[in-house]
């Protein structure tokens, strides 16, 4: 492999990282919103969200990406490739994140909530000052785990022609006729990215445990 192959691999890694990063950021926030709306138990919306979560968890990412990219023009929307990829990853990860947030809400101590009410906090102030900081820490291990699943699923966006870290190995081997070296380098890069997340998860878990004591 020569210098240009290395460059292409690093560019592929960058594409994987920024698309996953944007989807993770959107997915965590959207997951929180979905969990909050489900907590409010609004009749029809609640059932719709349950259906969405169930469908999004069962749909393969490749299928979802193809679906979004190919059928968006039917609805009169022109989607850029990377926007379609981000959308698919976000829709998928939001469903999982919503469940993680919701279980954290479910386990939140009732005493604290009652104490906050008794101190005269409005629901919004209580959520912002009391619940949200603690919920973030308790659900962080689950969220980071979901992030590493998202990165492991991110090669799905290659199916609509985004050149990510997996797809770029095809491009390189089309020139060099040696597919193995770029694939192995891509493996190492993925391991580095996901290894970082696993390490982050351990740190998060340690902090969460300390808080739970």
């Amino acid at each position: 492999m020569n210098a240009s192959a290395w460059n292409m691999l690093l560019e592929g890694a960058w594409v994987t990282l920024w698309i996953s990063g944007v989807s993770i950021a959107l997915g965590v926030v959207a997951g929180l919103l979905v969990a909050l709306v489900r907590l409010a138990k609004i009749p029809i919306i609640d059932q719709l969200l349950v259906l969405y979560i169930s469908l999004a968890r069962a749909t393969p990412l490749v299928t979802l990406t193809l679906f979004i990219f190919l059928s968006a023009p039917n609805f009169g929307i022109q989607l850029d490739r990377s926007v379609a990829g981000i959308l698919a990853l976000t829709i998928n990860t939001t469903a999982f994140n919503a469940e993680i947030w919701r279980s954290a809400f479910g386990n939140f101590s009732r005493e604290q909530r009652e104490a906050a009410m008794a101190m005269g906090m409005t629901p919004w102030v209580m959520f912002r000052r009391i619940m949200f900081p603690q919920l973030t820490i308790t659900s962080l291990p689950g969220l980071v785990n979901e992030m590493s699943f998202l990165i492991k699923g991110s090669p799905a966006i290659a199916v609509i022609g985004i050149v990510d870290l997996t797809r770029v190995t095809n491009r390189i081997s089309a020139v060099t006729y040696e597919p193995l070296p770029p694939i192995l380098v891509a493996c190492v890069l993925y391991m580095a990215i996901i290894g970082c997340l696993v390490w982050l998860q351990r740190v998060a878990e340690r902090r969460a445990n300390r808080l739970a004591e």
């Binding site: 069962a58 393969p60 299928t63 799905a156 891509a186």
Partner: protein
Amino acid sequence: MSNWEILWLERAQFIDGFISTLEIFGLSISVAFVIGCGMLYMLEGAKPRLEVPLRIFVDSMRMLPFLILVYLLYYGLPSFGIRLNAWWAGVGALAVYHGCYFAEIFRGVRQTFSPGQVEAARACGFNTGKMFLRLILPQIIMRARPLIGNQLIYALKDTAFLVIITVRELTAAANSLSGTYFIPTEAFVVVIGCYWLVSMSMELIIKQCGRFSAKRGFDNV
């Protein structure tokens, strides 16, 4: 002719794709299960020399995306003179990848067992193989059942990746139909429905297993 009628006329493609997906899924998940049990047995069999390489192998599999393993088998292996066709590369990758996940799940459950059981079994004259088959494995499977169910759904979702290496399965059927007739929305709605149906029925089966294991007293150990 409406779009749905076109889909109905082309139903053979969907059915073929669906059966092919189920074949890939069924075969690879069975092999993966055996691989997982085998790895667990090797860890159980008290061979300390095997433990470290196995752990490294399992952990590195867990840090890789599924598709890159498929690429390794499909594009990488021919460098060593082993040429797999797309179907076998896909099934092999699914089996190895999810086998490692199964091994990790089983290992996690195994750690919660009390050592007394194993000692009692040894005192009764069980050798390692018999003890593993009669005592440890059934308990592990019954206790790990929610995790196994999750893993089955992940495996089903991973079969869709194989469309990238040109395996003819369910997503490929939808893709080719939407390319031929320009009806992507309807084609993919049908396919997503199929995936949903399969994972729903798997969840039901896992729930039924829960009833079985409660009846046989696996939860009381």
